[in-house]
Point group: C2
Chain length 142, copies 2
């Protein structure tokens, strides 16, 4: 029985496509902001700052900066579609909890996700000219 | 001679890893904010709002919301590493111009990129229950 590979990385990034969402929700920038913040809390992230914008005639864009990186959203209410990014670092947060929360509150019938490692420690070491010593998360992760 | 495939998508998203950057730049949140905004301008994007945060003891996180989606950055000065996302929609902007600009001002010796289509029109149509009619960008893209 082989031992599983373990890779070290600074962050993990989930790219999410939400299809067939509740169109009324997708055009409500107050709800979207609230849901993105509760998604951050569900993931056990610490919210630093957020910006949300309602476009004319509709469609919401926004970002929540968390101590552990960021969550962003862009909605196209007319197509029931939202593009979401959940980028977290450290092992005290779980972006999949944010994903589950958003799936539910956006009423997404269909979801697709891709998880991408960000800041692979072996790569950072490989390209560096000096010995970087111990590579670790900062006390507050970032 | 075959005809090239053409796919329609709402947005394009470039995930960038910048290695071996200028460490002094990566810890300067004022410069990082300035460079991210000039990157947006180089891409011919319209800046809506931005948030940047300097972490203790160092490392910068920030997002620039543009009419055409967003640009984000997270820096780890001690490792010379930055994770950047360049997400744009519409054909009037070119995220690769933002990439080139940031490569230069961050002094990145090594870069790696992945381009991901966001909001593929055929998928949105496929999962929808109703006929969505013409799928197009809004006048102001989002």
């Amino acid at each position: 029985m082989g031992t599983l590979l373990k890779t070290e990385q600074l962050g993990r990034h989930i790219l999410v496509e939400y299809y067939n969402c509740d169109k009324e929700v997708l055009k409500d920038h107050k709800k979207i902001e609230e849901y993105m913040k509760t998604a951050a809390i569900e993931a056990k992230a610490t919210i630093v700052q957020s910006v949300f914008h309602l476009f004319n005639p509709w469609g919401v864009s926004g970002a929540v900066i968390i101590s552990e990186s960021h969550l962003t959203i862009h909605t196209w209410p007319e197509y029931g579609y939202a593009a979401v990014d959940l980028f977290t670092c450290g092992d005290s947060v779980n972006p999949w909890d944010a994903f589950d929360h958003l799936s539910e509150v956006l009423g997404a019938e269909k979801t697709e996700t891709t998880e991408v490692p960000r800041g692979l420690v072996d790569k950072i070491r490989h390209f560096a000219h000096e010995d970087l010593g111990d590579i670790k998360f900062k006390p507050d992760c970032k």
